[in-house]
C-alpha cells in the first residue's frame, strides 16, 4: 500500500514541492511571508485553470495548443464588447460572456476533431493561428487600458487582507476561488461521472471505447467546449488582474502549461492523469518561477532550472514504467528508430 503510494508521480512531485519550499524558505525567510504566498496563489490561478483543461485533453489522448489563443480572444473581445455597450455592471457578466465566447471557439476545435477525426495537435495548431489572427486583424490589437468599471475594479477584489510588520497591506485575491472551484468540478467529473470515465476510456483505447458503445463524438465535443470555457474564464482573470486587455498576451504560455501538467503525472500518450497531480505540478512550476529569485538565482537561469526539473520529473515515471513493463509481460526489445 505504502509502496504504491510512493510509486505515484503525485507523491514524488508533492515531496519535491515541500522540499523546495523548505529549502527556499530556509535560505530566505521572505518566502514564508503572507505576501509571497498570496503572490504565488495569484500566479498559480491562471496557469492552474489552464492546466486542468490541458489535463482533460491529455487524458482523452489529445493535445490542445489553442487554449491560450482562445483565452486571449475571449478576454479581449469581451472587453471590447463591454466597452462598446458601455456596460456598468459587475465582473460576473464579464466571466459569463468570456466563457461563452471560449465555449464557441472550443466547439470549432471539437467540430474538426470529432467530426473529421483530424489529429488534435494539427487542428489546434491551426485554430491557434486562426483565432489569434482573427483577433489581431479583425477585433483589434491595441492595448486597452481604459477598462469598463466592473473589470477595472476586479484587481482589488481580495478575499481578505493582512497588514504585515512593516505596515504593508497584502491580500489574497478572490480569483483563487475559481481555481478551487474548477479543480473540484474537474475532480468530480473525471473520477465520478460516466462522462469522465469515457474520457479515460477514449484515451486508453479508442477502438475498445467504440466497441463498448461510447458516444465518442459527444465526449469530444464536451471536452473541447469545456476547455474553451476554462480558457475564457482564465483569460478574463488574467486581464482583470493585469488591469489591461492586451491582444498580444497569453499566447506562448501553452507549452509551459502542458509541461506542468505532464510533470504532474498526465501522460502525453493519453489515458492517465489526475487533478491532484496537475495542481501539484502547477504549484511546483509556480514556486520555481516566482521564488528562485528569492534565493539569488538570476532570472535568466530560472528557465534552465525549470527546464531541468521538468525533464527529470517526466523522465522518472517514464523510466519506471519501462521497468515495470519489462517485469510484467513483454516484448521487450530495443526498438530501432524509424
Amino acid at each position: 500500500m505504502l509502496k504504491k503510494l510512493f510509486s505515484r508521480q503525485e507523491t514524488l512531485v508533492g515531496i519535491t514541492l515541500v522540499a523546495l519550499c523548505l529549502l527556499i524558505g530556509t535560505i530566505n525567510p521572505v518566502f514564508w511571508t503572507p505576501g509571497n504566498w498570496f503572490d504565488l496563489a495569484r500566479s498559480a490561478t491562471v496557469t492552474g485553470i489552464f492546466a486542468i483543461g490541458v489535463l482533460i485533453v491529455l487524458v482523452s489522448g489529445g493535445i490542445d495548443v489553442s487554449f491560450t489563443a482562445i483565452a486571449v480572444f475571449s478576454m479581449y473581445t469581451t472587453t471590447v464588447i463591454m466597452n462598446q455597450i458601455g456596460f456598468q455592471g459587475g465582473m460576473v457578466a464579464f466571466f459569463a460572456l468570456s466563457a461563452a465566447i471560449g465555449a464557441l471557439l472550443g466547439l470549432i476545435n471539437a467540430f474538426f476533431i470529432a467530426r473529421f477525426r483530424l489529429p488534435t495537435l494539427i487542428v489546434t495548431l491551426g485554430t491557434q493561428s486562426l483565432f489569434r489572427g482573427f483577433l489581431l486583424f479583425v477585433i483589434g490589437s491595441k492595448i486597452i487600458r481604459d477598462l469598463p468599471p466592473g473589470m477595472a475594479q476586479y484587481s482589488g477584489a481580495f478575499l481578505f487582507t493582512v497588514t504585515d510588520a512593516r505596515g504593508i497591506t497584502v491580500g489574497l485575491h478572490s480569483a483563487v476561488l475559481f481555481l478551487v472551484g474548477v479543480a473540484i468540478i474537474a475532480q468530480l467529473l473525471l473520477r465520478h461521472t460516466m462522462l469522465g470515465r469515457s474520457i479515460y476510456a477514449l484515451g486508453g483505447s479508442r477502438e475498445a471505447a467504440e466497441r463498448a458503445g461510447f458516444n465518442l463524438v459527444r465526449t469530444q465535443v464536451f471536452i473541447y467546449a469545456f476547455v474553451g470555457v476554462l480558457a475564457g474564464i482564465a483569460g478574463m482573470i488574467y486581464g482583470g488582474l493585469n488591469r489591461q486587455a492586451n491582444a498580444q498576451d497569453i499566447v506562448g504560455q501553452e507549452l509551459d502549461v502542458i509541461a506542468a501538467t505532464v510533470l504532474g503525472g498526465a501522460s502525453i500518450a493519453g489515458g492517465r492523469g489526475s487533478v491532484v497531480g496537475t495542481l501539484l505540478g502547477v504549484l511546483l512550476v509556480t514556486v520555481m518561477s516566482n521564488s528562485l529569485i528569492l534565493v539569488g538565482i538570476p532570472s535568466i537561469w530560472q528557465r534552465v532550472v525549470i527546464g531541468a526539473i521538468i525533464l527529470i520529473g517526466t523522465a522518472v515515471p517514464a523510466i519506471r514504467a519501462l521497468h515495470t513493463a519489462r517485469r510484467a509481460n513483454v516484448d521487450i526489445e530495443p526498438v530501432p528508430a524509424e
Binding site: H192, M194, A209, G213, T324, A325, A328, V330
Partner: protein, 509 residues
C-alpha cells in the same frame, strides 16, 4: 425459424479488394452453442464484428430478436444482449481490472454517476462466476496475458447476455481455466443463453459445439450439427486437404551442447534448473500456468536475469544480464503475448517484419534500400504464407492468426542460434500450424537449437525430440520423445505428485 435469436442473411463484406465475407447466412437459436471454424483470414472475426455492430456489412440483413437492423450500432447489439469477447480482448490498458469488467455494463444501463463500490462488487461477482481471483485494483496493462483474457471473459459475463460471442477466448488459458470456462458456458446455456464460439483448438470445438459452421475464404462450406463432424472432417472442410504431420526426426549434429544451463535459480520464479540443448535439437518446455516455464525463458532472454546458476553457450560461460546481451549471444525470443506486445499495429506488415534485421540490411553509407527491405519482407511473407493483399497495409488489417505470423517472421528473420518460442502456434489454424511446424523443424535441421514452450500436447510430440516438464518452479522431469505418447504426457502434465521416472539428458554418440 421464428425462435431464432440472431439471423444473418446473405452477408458480404470486402476490404480493399479482399472479399472477407461472401454471402454468409447464419442462424443462432437460444441455448445453442454454435462453433465457427476456418483458417486464419477466412473471415471469422469480420463476421463477429458485423454481429457486434462494429463493422457494417456491404450487403445482407441482420435480424436480432425478430427486429431487423439495417444499420446496427455497437450499442444496439449490446442492448439486444450480444456480448463479444474479442480476439484482441479490447480492454482499456489504463484502467483497473475492476473498472474494465464493470464499465461497459454501467454504460449500457445508462449510468451517469460512477459508484466505485458497485464497480468492485460487479467485477468480483463476475470473477467468481469463472472461479478466478485477480487483483481488482491492478491496472490491466500490468497483468499477464492470461489474466487479460480472463478479464475480457468476466466482462462479458457481467451483463445479462442472450448471446455471448467468444473469438478465440481460450488462446492464453491453460486446461484448468478452460474447464472452468466450459462449465460457465454450460451454465449459461441452461438459462437459454446462446454462445458463438470461435477456436482453432478443434478438440474444444468438438467437445462443446451443438452446431458448427465452417468457412473458407469468406464462404460457408458447411453448417451442420456437430455430431455429424469429427476432427478429420473439420480439417478437411477448413483447408480442402488432409493433413498428416510427421514427428521431428532429430539427427545429432555435434557433441558440444549449444546451450548448457546449470542450477539456474531465480527466487520466487524457478529453482535449480539444469539442462542442455544441442544444435539441431527441439526441446519442449511444458508445465501448468505458474510452473515457471515463461520465467525460465525470460531469464534466458535477459528480461528476468537469474540470481544463481550458470549458462554456457558453446561451452563458454556467459552472463546474460539484459536483453541486449542475450541478443548478442544469438538468442531470440518470441513472446507469449504477441498480439498486444509484439507488434507495431499501425505500421506496415513490411516494416514490422524487417524491424529486427534492419541493421544487417543496411547498405554502404548506412542507407536503406526500400526495394531490398521489401524483397526481404516478401520472402518471409511467402515462407509463412501470411495472407494479405498488400504488405504495405498496417499489421492491424491482418486477421489475428496472420498477425501472429508476422511476429514469428520478424524473429525468424533475425537468424538466431538459439530460438525460444513461447506458444509458437497459439491462434494459428490447423493447416498453417503444420506449415509452421515444418519451418521450425527445418530451422532446427540447419543447426539452430530451439526451445518450445507450449501446453499443446500434440504440438510438443510432433516437434520436440525431448521434453522438459516444470512444476512449481522446478524441473519435474525430462523425457525423450520416444518414451511418450499423448495420454502419458497429458497425465504427466496434470498429475500433482512428483515423478521419479525422469530420464537423463540424451547421450550424443
Amino acid at each position: 425459424m421464428a425462435d431464432a435469436f440472431l439471423s444473418l442473411s446473405h452477408i458480404s463484406k470486402s476490404y480493399a479488394g479482399v472479399q472477407a465475407l461472401d454471402d454468409v447466412s447464419l442462424i443462432v437459436k437460444p441455448a445453442e452453442i454454435h462453433c465457427l471454424v476456418g483458417e486464419n483470414g477466412s473471415g471469422k472475426s469480420t463476421l463477429i464484428k458485423i454481429i457486434a455492430g462494429v463493422v457494417s456489412p456491404d450487403e445482407g440483413q441482420i435480424v436480432i430478436n425478430g427486429k431487423p437492423f439495417p444499420r446496427l450500432a455497437p450499442m444496439d447489439a449490446i442492448r439486444e444482449g450480444i456480448q463479444v469477447i474479442y480476439q484482441d480482448f479490447s480492454l482499456f490498458p489504463n484502467l483497473t481490472v475492476a473498472e474494465n469488467i464493470a464499465l461497459n455494463y454501467e454504460l449500457s444501463r445508462n449510468t451517469r454517476i460512477v459508484r466505485w463500490g458497485e464497480v468492485r462488487r460487479l467485477a468480483q461477482a463476475a470473477l467468481d462466476k469463472i472461479g478466478v481471483r485477480l487483483p481488482l485494483d491492478a491496472e490491466v496493462e500490468s497483468i499477464p496475458v492470461a489474466d487479460k483474457q480472463l478479464v475480457a471473459i468476466a466482462r462479458a459475463l457481467v451483463q445479462n447476455a442472450r448471446l455471448i460471442i467468444m473469438d478465440e477466448a481460450t488462446t492464453a488459458l491453460t486446461e484448468k481455466e478452460i474447464r472452468a470456462l466450459f462449465g460457465v458456458i454450460r451454465n449459461v446455456q441452461r438459462d437459454g443463453v446462446a454462445v458463438l464460439f470461435v477456436s482453432h483448438k478443434l478438440n474444444e470445438v468438438l467437445e462443446i459445439a451443438d452446431k458448427a459452421m465452417i468457412i473458407r475464404n469468406g464462404k460457408v462450406v458447411v453448417d451442420a450439427d456437430a455430431a455429424a463432424l469429427d476432427r478429420n472432417k473439420l480439417v478437411y472442410y477448413m483447408t480442402g486437404r488432409r493433413i498428416d504431420e510427421a514427428d521431428y526426426d532429430y539427427v545429432p549434429q555435434s557433441k558440444q551442447p549449444l546451450l548448457e544451463v546449470s542450477h539456474l535459480s531465480s527466487p520466487g520464479n524457478f529453482e535449480d534448473i539444469s539442462f542442455s540443448l544441442y544444435p539441431g535439437e527441439i526441446v519442449g518446455v511444458t508445465g501448468l500456468l505458474g510452473s515457471g516455464r515463461t520465467e525460465l525463458a525470460l531469464s534466458l532472454f535477459g528480461v528476468l536475469p537469474a540470481m544463481r546458476g550458470e549458462v554456457r553457450i558453446d561451452g563458454q560461460l556467459v552472463r546474460i544480464r539484459d536483453i541486449q546481451s542475450a541478443i548478442r549471444h544469438g538468442i531470440g525470443y518470441v513472446p507469449e503475448d504477441r498480439l498486444t506486445e509484439g507488434l507495431f499495429l499501425d505500421q506496415s506488415i513490411n516494416r514490422n517484419i524487417v524491424i529486427r534485421t534492419i541493421d544487417t540490411l543496411r547498405q554502404a553509407g548506412g542507407l536503406l534500400s526500400p526495394a531490398r527491405l521489401e524483397a526481404h519482407a516478401r520472402e518471409w511473407i511467402n515462407n509463412l504464407s501470411i495472407k494479405t493483399s498488400n504488405p504495405e497495409l498496417p499489421v492491424k488489417s491482418l486477421s489475428g492468426g496472420n498477425q501472429q505470423r508476422v511476429v514469428l517472421a520478424k524473429w525468424l528473420a533475425s537468424k538466431p542460434r538459439i530460438l525460444i518460442l513461447n506458444g509458437p502456434t497459439v491462434g494459428v489454424d490447423v493447416g498453417s500450424k503444420t506449415e509452421l511446424h515444418e519451418i521450425i523443424k527445418s530451422l532446427a535441421g540447419e543447426g539452430i537449437g530451439i526451445l518450445v514452450i507450449s501446453d499443446d500436447i500434440p504440438e510438443l510430440l510432433h516437434l520436440c525430440n525431448r521434453i522438459l516438464l516444470m512444476r512449481r518452479g522446478r524441473l519435474a522431469g525430462m523425457f525423450e520423445r520416444a518414451v511418450l505418447d499423448e495420454n502419458k504426457l497429458t497425465t504427466l502434465l496434470t498429475e500433482s505428485t512428483t515423478i521419479g521416472s525422469a530420464v537423463p539428458s540424451p547421450q550424443v554418440q
